[in-house]
């Protein structure tokens, strides 16, 4: 589903190489986790895949079901089924959460040649999805993420994911700033979306999220490369021994 080959990325503003040849293949229906120390390039990978400004791809490719991601605008990437759950969801004063979601859902439907969802259908769908994530009506009415707690923001990300039904979901440090209960809620939301040929790339610093979202494959990233891949046991190894052992072993 998601194929990344030899991806080299540097910052636009300064001559600093962040990704130094990332190879990764996420098959449909699987959950891959990327772990790694701070500064290893995990978040950069998520931004480059979703099309954020400020990065230059100097080499390599990234495709989603054969579509060249790097050639597309962010909204086009979303429309073909890529979704990034942000580490820091942005607060947007003045734009209602509901308006935002409806505009997004219909923009994607339009891009895919589907009919727009009418207000009644949309309302019915969002109420049902929101309920599962314990998002109340007030949160839907408020401006996007404004005044939301850390947990509310992350639940709102998952709500967007549930509404947009993407093919490939990237979760960037979704566990950061969450207490155990909130993490469980978010993980339940993600798990509910598993299967149906959907791919997941879960980026995290700590192993604890992976207790709730069981990965099929775990990758360790360091200094802009994936240095080791393995099964879920690799995450446990990190949890017990830290990154030091693994990194010195592959060095």
């Amino acid at each position: 589903m998601l194929e990344i080959k030899g991806l080299n990325v540097k910052l636009e503003e300064e001559d600093k190489q962040i990704l130094k040849g990332v190879d990764l293949s996420v098959e449909a229906g699987t959950v891959h986790a990327i772990m790694g120390p701070n500064g290893s390039g995990k978040s950069t990978l998520s931004y480059v895949l979703s099309g954020r400004d400020g990065y230059v791809v100097t080499e390599g490719s990234a495709t989603l079901e054969g579509h060249d991601l790097l050639d597309l605008e962010p909204e086009e990437r979303a429309a073909i089924g890529l979704f990034l759950a942000f580490q820091y969801p942005v607060e947007i004063p003045g734009v209602g959460n509901m308006t935002f979601l409806r505009t997004a859902v219909n923009a994607q439907r339009k891009a895919r040649g589907l009919e727009e969802m009418n207000a009644t259908e949309f309302l019915k769908l969002i109420r049902q999805k929101a309920k599962e994530l314990q998002i109340d009506a007030d949160m839907l009415k408020r401006p996007v993420n404004v005044g939301f707690s850390g947990g509310e923001k992350k639940r709102n990300e998952i709500l967007q994911m549930a509404m947009l039904e993407p093919k490939m979901c990237i979760l960037d440090e979704t566990d950061s700033g969450l207490d155990v209960d909130a993490m469980k809620l978010v993980a339940d939301g993600v798990n509910a979306l598993r299967g149906a040929g959907r791919g997941f790339l879960v980026i995290t610093h700590y192993q604890r999220l992976l207790n709730h979202i069981q990965p099929d494959v775990v990758h360790i990233m360091s200094d802009g490369r994936i240095v080791k891949s393995g099964g879920p046991e690799l995450a446990l190894e990190v949890e017990e021994n830290g990154y030091g052992d693994i990194l010195s072993e592959v060095a």
Binding site: S50, G51, R52, D53, E73, P74, E75, R77, A78, A79, F83, L84, F86, P89, V90, I92, P93, G94, V95, T99, F100, T103, A104, A107, Q108, A111, P143, V144, Q160, L164
Partner: protein, 428 residues
């Protein structure tokens, strides 16, 4: 101080292109006095401090610059709202297109109709509030208006009013130079909602004097529309009595040159004055909001909220002042002016001012100018919302804070819809 010769020449050139309308005793006196004021002040010139950001040339020159008549087929603003319509075409009252000038709790007359009368209630207001508003800053175009206004509407509100009064302007002649002067007197405990919309003329000079008596309320919502070549200088002079309310909102889109001045005097304790504006300027646009609020009573509240979105070389101006006079204790004054610059060619010029002579007051002001929030834009696009649609969403969100100042929900929705329509027509 004697005026400089070029200013005298420019003023006389302008006055010689005008004729004082026929008037009865009281109005003739008011007009004569206003004419004297114009000559004493001189008309605005490019180097005047108060016109530092806005070139007054085309507003002052003897002949109105040509302005194409803008035709479109969309529903007029306020179309779905039950209201009493008063229509002016190129500054001339259109009786056939207007509703009968009568309504519950209202006394409505044309200035031209009462001009010959010896006694009229408007005598105590016509040119009177304008004159008060000439201190400490000169507003010569308003004095010019008092002297030469060819028509206008006089409304006295005495009781319950069942629907808003709507002033509708039409522009038909490419060279019309309209001068209208309205007077609103809202008597104790009464309230009025006044709507204004439509392109008025090639060049428009309008003054509205509003006297809001004790416990009375005046709500004003104005849409300055789609006429791209509009040149307009408008003034509102409002005087507020005890526990009274004055709320005015203006939507400004397009127009080569628009200067809206609002001069508010809080003279009775516990009064509230809100003035707000949302403007969208694209290309050859110059929009100036100049506001002067004087607190001269205890425990009054004033708010100024102005937002402008500018692109393709458009210019926005805000000059806002809060003056707190000695003894105006417990004043709560607030002022914010912000611009969203959608490109590097556009500019926003702001001059916020506070002048306070009382010691127990809370006054704050802020002014910002910035580009669209790139993080927010990316967030929206990452959810599949195309860049232009996302920009429009953020633009509307920016303006919403000004639009939200409108109390009435129907009018608020109407203004928001107009802004949305304007944006969607432009985002190809």
């Amino acid at each position: 101080m004697a005026l400089a010769q070029p200013k005298i020449t420019a003023t006389e050139e302008r006055l010689s292109a005008l004729r004082l309308p026929e008037s009865g005793v009281w109005l003739a006196r008011a007009r004569g006095a206003a004419q004297d004021r114009v000559r004493t002040m001189g008309l605005p010139a490019a180097r005047d401090e108060y016109w530092k950001f806005t070139p007054p040339g085309t507003l002052v020159q003897p002949e109105a610059p040509q302005a194409a008549v803008f035709r479109h087929d969309e529903a007029p603003v306020f179309d779905g709202i039950e209201r009493l319509k008063i229509v002016f075409v190129d500054g001339v009252f259109d009786a056939a297109a207007s509703d009968p000038l009568e309504g519950e709790g209202l006394q409505i007359e044309r200035l031209a109709d009462v001009a010959a009368q010896d006694i009229h209630w408007a005598r105590d207001l016509y040119g009177v509030l304008e004159t008060r508003g000439q201190t400490p800053v000169d507003r010569p175009l308003a004095a010019l208006n008092t002297a030469y206004a060819s028509d206008g509407i006089l409304i006295r509100v005495t009781g319950h009013v069942s629907k808003p009064v709507s002033l509708i302007y039409h522009h038909e002649s490419t060279s019309s130079d309209a001068i209208l002067h309205h007077v609103m007197k809202v008597e104790e405990g009464a309230s009025l909602t006044l709507l204004e919309n439509g392109p008025a003329a090639a060049r428009f000079n309008k003054v509205m004097e509003v006297d809001v008596a004790d416990s009375a309320a005046f709500h004003h919502v104005r849409a300055q529309g789609r006429d791209h070549e509009r040149r307009a200088a408008t003034h509102i002079f409002a005087r507020l009595g005890r526990e009274s309310t004055f709320k005015s909102f203006t939507l400004t889109v397009n127009g080569k040159m628009t200067r809206n001045e609002c001069v508010i005097e809080l003279t009775g304790d516990d009064a509230v004055a809100h003035v707000a504006g949302a403007a969208l300027g694209d290309g050859d646009f110059h929009g100036d909001d100049t506001v002067f609020v004087t607190h001269d009573a205890v425990n009054c509240e004033s708010r100024q909220v102005f937002k402008k979105v500018l692109r393709n070389g458009a210019t926005g101006v805000f000059q806002g002042k809060i003056l707190v006079k000695p003894g105006a204790q417990q004043t709560d004054g607030y002022q914010i002016s912000q611009s969203l610059l959608l490109d590097g060619d556009s500019q926003f010029l702001a001059k916020p001012e506070l002048e306070i002579y009382a010691d127990d007051v809370a006054c704050s002001h802020g002014s910002t100018s910035g580009a669209i929030d790139e993080d927010a834009l990316f967030y929206l696009r990452a959810r599949g919302i195309p860049g232009n649609v996302a920009t429009d969403l953020l633009t509307l969100a920016f303006l919403a804070q000004a639009v939200d100042e409108i109390e009435d929900e129907t009018l608020r929705t109407e203004m928001a819809a107009r802004l949305e329509g304007w944006l969607s027509r432009r985002s190809g």
